[in-house]
């Protein structure tokens, strides 16, 4: 596998001590990560609640590769954090000071904003739902603008925002919210949705066109598989595949051609569908840009036995993909931690004068690969067949340390001698310097490229100026597959928390905005914060949806009327 084969690191059993929390009382405790039977496990003991053990990775070899370090390699990257928003007042330290505190090591690359906890579904594992909480959390447009401005005014602002919920598209002002985010400079506006607004039988297409025109770029579409029975198990609703297909069709007609299928993977429930989902994406490649597999996070209190029954790790997902794709997307060669491209991304951002996107998350957080259909063979191949990724990354890792000082200290040859005229001359010198660096980097990238073609043309444009157009066109010729494993109290590693790059923004009642990393928000903070900003539910809100059907209650009444007073069985 990769460059770890034959190394002493692979032969030595893995062992590391990390900070974690007790799943019962959420107090900080030490945990050990260790190797056992070719798997990686975490064990920890709370003096009050006893022993806990949880699987971290079902492949010790893959896990060890992602933690292997050489002089030129390593996936544990130093982040460039924004200045902290608060002082660390709790002496226990991370994760009890979120908001963000000085211990945080990475900047935010994806901002999350909850629009509502209303939803037309009532999934049993979901943490954000009025049915369960008994209150409404729905920030006003003014509150949302405050959060958007907060994120975009950071020294290193996140380029993308994702609206989450509940179901964000149940909001009547959803188009206005998208326009607001675009107005304040977010490059990519994403909605995490089950598809509600887009699939509506009456007016769904018009609604899709409207939100696209308002600035929505991408749907993170909840997509657990292609079988109705799978949705019955995960969402408790019958015949959902037709609903999902209406979303795809309306997006296609509205020219909204960027859908990422998001599958929550639970052992024995949705793991059987991973190959199906990949093939479905390929069949709809004109509108589907990627797939994100999310091994289920165990938020809420369950027994250790239940946790082990449900637990599935990133390695399980990529093994399953390997199996279900007949080895075409192999665990041995196709997958890289997201942090792989940190230096490469910084070089592109510096040379192209664009905002950097920092993927300095922990190596355990997520893996990704790009798939391409090779025009010569018509075979689906990982993009690694087009490049030599090792050599490209190795070169970037050598190149960036040699040029990074130029980002902060531009050349000043003439300024001291000639004053303002010297400044103008120095600008010219710096421009020339950047051109020669671009030429060097482009030539190195070309050296390790194996095949020409339209895809490579787009890649060349990404290297030349890294602007959003070129990145977007490049991604339209590829399928990005990733596996993101969010943490819960059972497997929490505080090193991961400190490096989290996906942050919630919440408008607080006192006029401030809190920025909280994804995993700590759901494990520690959500209930308390929501109670602070909660509004009272009305009867109308409670009865808005029939959550066993995923439809508006009034639509169902209409259907019954059409069906001679009988509820039609699907």
């Amino acid at each position: 596998m990769y460059h770890i084969d034959g190394s002493d690191f692979l032969k030595t059993p893995y062992y590391q001590k990390v900070g974690s929390v007790c799943p019962e009382c959420l107090q900080k405790i030490q945990a050990e990560i260790y190797e056992e039977d070719d798997e990686i496990w975490m064990r920890k003991t709370c003096s009050e609640h006893g022993d806990f053990k949880d699987k971290i990775s079902s492949s010790a070899k893959y896990y060890k590769w992602t933690h292997y370090k050489t002089d030129e390699w390593g996936f544990d990257k130093d982040g460039e954090p924004n200045p902290p928003d608060c002082e660390a007042t709790d002496p226990r330290g991370c994760p009890y000071n979120c908001g963000l505190c000085p211990e945080h090591l990475s900047t935010c690359s994806l901002a999350l904003i909850d629009l509502t906890n209303r939803c037309n579904f009532n999934c049993n594992f979901c943490y954000a739902n009025i049915e369960k909480s008994g209150y409404l959390v729905e920030p006003s447009l003014e509150d949302l603008e405050r959060v958007i401005i907060f994120f975009r005014s950071k020294p290193i602002p996140p380029p993308a925002v994702m609206f989450t919920g509940g179901e964000p598209t149940v909001r009547k002002d959803f188009a206005e919210i998208c326009a607001l985010a675009k107005k304040h400079g977010f490059k990519e506006i994403i909605v995490a949705t089950n598809g509600y607004g887009f699939q509506q039988k009456k007016g769904g297409l018009e609604w899709t066109k409207k939100v696209y025109e308002a600035g929505l770029d991408t749907l993170y579409l909840q997509f657990d598989g292609i079988n109705d029975i799978t949705y019955e198990k995960t969402r408790g609703i019958k015949n959902l595949m037709a609903y999902k297909e209406r979303v795809i069709e309306n997006c296609r007609k509205a020219d909204l051609t960027s859908i990422v299928l998001v599958a929550t993977i639970a052992k024995g429930v949705t793991d059987i569908e991973v190959g199906n989902i990949i093939q479905y994406a390929i069949d709809n490649i004109d509108v589907v840009r990627g797939i994100t597999f999310q091994p289920v996070a165990l938020c809420g209190r369950i027994t250790a036995e239940e946790a082990q029954d449900l637990r599935i790790t990133n390695a399980d997902v990529i093994k399953e993909i390997d199996k279900q794709t007949g080895g075409k997307i192999s665990i041995d060669s196709a997958w890289y931690p997201l942090s792989t491209i940190v230096e490469w991304g910084r070089i592109i951002a510096y040379l192209a004068d664009v905002e950097p996107v920092e993927f300095t998350c922990h190596p355990d957080c997520g893996f990704a690969t790009y798939l391409v259909i090779d025009p010569d063979t018509n075979e689906m191949v990982p993009i690694m067949d087009y490049f030599d990724p090792f050599k490209i990354i190795e070169f970037a890792n050598k190149f960036w340390p040699k040029i990074k000082h130029k980002e902060k200290e531009p050349i000043k040859l003439f300024e001291n001698l000639l004053g303002d005229f010297g400044k103008t001359l120095d600008k010219g010198v710096n421009w020339l310097d950047k051109q020669q660096l671009r030429a060097r980097f482009l030539l190195a990238m070309m050296q390790y490229t194996k095949k020409p073609g339209k895809l490579m043309e787009m890649f060349t444009r990404v290297l030349m100026d890294g602007n959003w157009e070129s990145i977007s066109a490049f991604t339209h010729g590829t399928l990005l597959i990733s596996s993101m494993h969010f943490q819960d109290a059972y497997n929490m590693n505080l090193e991961r928390v400190k490096r989290c790059i996906v942050h919630f923004g919440i408008a607080m009642p006192d006029g401030s905005v809190k920025e909280i990393s994804f995993c700590t928000m759901n494990t520690f903070y959500r209930p308390d914060i929501e109670k602070l900003v909660a509004k009272q539910l009305t009867e109308k809100m409670r009865n808005e949806f029939d959550t066993s059907k995923g439809m508006k209650a009034e639509e169902i009444k209409h259907d019954i009327a059409h069906n001679g007073g009988e509820l039609e069985e699907d």
Partner: protein
Amino acid sequence: MSQNEYTDPKTGMKIRKLTELKPTAAQEYQEAILHRVDHFSQQRDSKFNSFVENTVVGTLKALLELKVKVDDILGDNKEKVYDITEKLLLLGL
């Protein structure tokens, strides 16, 4: 039901065979890129309408095609040539 889809008699689940790609899939990918390029090209200040960038991309495309042919000729010596080039590209930084 898609051509590449069958129902597992044991579980009743629909399964799509990934190993049987549609013969037109590569074409569809290409069209997806071109559609996106068209979308951007309609905007007045698009980089896809930049004469300079299009010329550079065209030149690099030709160079890349040439480089792939040279790689074939170099065979096993390719790695040595790559090492030398890399050192040159990092020289003086």
